[in-house]
Symmetry: C2
Subunit: 308 residues, 2 copies
């Protein structure tokens, strides 16, 4: 038999995955899970594709904010347009650090800019923009296009799960409608499998089917305790497998627990400065939780034979 | 070849359905739709199962409100507990009539009661309640259990679509979590295919996976212009087939239109007092729209060989 996880090195993480899938799928075993209940959920940024030096969607948003500031000088003194215009990545890094430390004051400022950056356009226009960006933009340091920034071992894991009857969902803090145009091509996850943050939408009818338009307000941020809520809202199920990498994934990983059947919780540890990045900022509490709750740590350095 | 719609009488509606499915699935034809884009959306109350003398979920809610008023006399003077306690169906009929006429004052009163009736219980407890209700309760006049109130021709249509690669969704004004326990059994639509109104939910962690709890507030009412929005949010697609029966379905049916491919819009007309019910209240604007936009009318009396 061929190795279903050939991009994974032999070790505890690979064993845990194969062990979980085998007992989940072994009809008659005590760990067997009916096929329709084999729901697996994945964070995206830092779990399925890389998120350094900044989340891919943040690059997309900053370019748009910079364009807006280029056209309207009055925006250049207001955050987040100011940071985008001045390429002030330190301000942005600070916002993310504050967020993971529990202070969302500046996240709200950034969020208001993000929401305004793509307000009053249709979901089709937004999709064309994000699709074009993702296909045409290169990662700033890795020497590859953004669409090639998905982790090969995770893509192989998704395929392995799918082959065993699992349905994979992306439960990302990133924007649902940003990921949808490429999710099937990159991950084999169709549009309807993408759960993520969303802006408020409104339907405007016309003679030709009408349009759905993005509003200048968030609907919800799919992070932290919102992840289990939106996984439930979308699927109506408690997953049997979850993978994340940061503090924002703790509740999703906690939720992926059953009293009467096995579950697998994976936490990706970025510890490979040579092939990808080496950081724990934003993952400190998740790493503690992994140790105390018995989650399976996935070391980029030690568990992945290849990263991309 | 066997008739895929044997519960439908020969006629324009049956012809329109079969014609639409055949051209949608004919690879190489100008009307061909790739299988992953064959999304069909269905209203539930009055479209997939009956909604008279009152929507099935309203019966469920009223029994709960009456129980609450039984335990707490102070509720008996407040709507909607008063109406539930006194079995004052005239008040409820009036609320529905006002809603369809565009006045939602009393709908808000009713909604607040509905939301309060099942607040602060987990989604699992709510599901056990609705499941037990649906399996144990009989329709007040039709002489059958509620689970047998689904329309056989619509159930056959769902199966016919599924056999042709369509994915069916329930886009109902009714509660998502009310329908989910029975949607697969009754309609062959799995839990993740149920779109519907929702209350706000919150996740509370604990050592055993935590719980998702219903809050005392609506998240959204999946009716009117919210239907296209939530169909998009869930599926990321514009449907190629939609079926409804009331004014609340107009936007969903409008949205189901493509400039470059065929779409089918079905509007169920309740005109059979003998086998089901005969009413147009709440569907007046939808019926006008059907005439002016070329939607396909489905007459219970003339198009269905059997109703249940």
């Amino acid at each position: 038999m061929s190795d279903p996880l050939s991009t994974w090195k032999e070790g505890a993480a690979k064993d845990a995955i194969i062990g979980h899938v085998e007992q989940t799928c072994a009809d008659g075993s005590p760990g067997w899970v009916p096929v329709q209940e084999r729901v697996a959920v994945f964070d995206n940024d830092g779990t399925l594709w890389c998120e350094k030096p900044m989340p891919i969607q943040l690059d997309f948003v900053l370019r748009r904010l910079a364009e807006m500031a280029e056209l309207d000088p009055s925006l250049r003194v207001r955050q987040p347009w100011k940071a985008a215009h001045e390429r002030d990545y330190a301000w942005l890094a600070q916002v993310m650090a504050e967020h993971y430390a529990g202070d969302d004051t500046n996240v709200k400022t950034l969020g208001a800019g993000v929401v305004a950056a793509f307000a009053n356009i249709t979901v089709d226009e937004f999709e064309a923009d994000s699709d074009a960006f993702l296909r045409s933009t290169r990662h700033p340091t890795l020497g590859r296009g953004y669409l090639e920034c998905a982790y090969a071992p995770m893509v192989e894991l998704l395929a392995y799960l799918r082959a065993n009857g699992f349905v994979n969902y992306i439960a990302s803090g990133g924007g649902r409608d940003f990921m949808r145009p490429i999710s099937d091509e990159v991950y084999g996850i169709p549009r309807e499998g993408v759960i993520g943050s969303a802006v408020a939408l409104a339907y405007t009818p016309d003679e030709n089917g009408g349009a759905i338009t993005r509003q200048a307000a968030a609907d919800y941020l799919d992070d932290g305790a919102e992840k289990p809520v939106h996984i439930w809202a979308r699927t109506g199920r408690r997953p049997v497998l979850a993978a994340g990498n940061s503090n924002g994934d703790i509740e999703m990983l906690d939720f992926t627990h059953h009293r009467d059947r096995p579950s697998l919780r994976l936490l990706v540890l970025h510890d490979d400065a040579e092939r990808e990045f080496d950081y724990v900022a934003g993952a400190e509490r998740a790493l503690e939780r992994a140790a105390s709750r018995g989650w399976t740590l996935v070391s980029v350095k030690d568990d992945w034979a290849t990263v991309f």
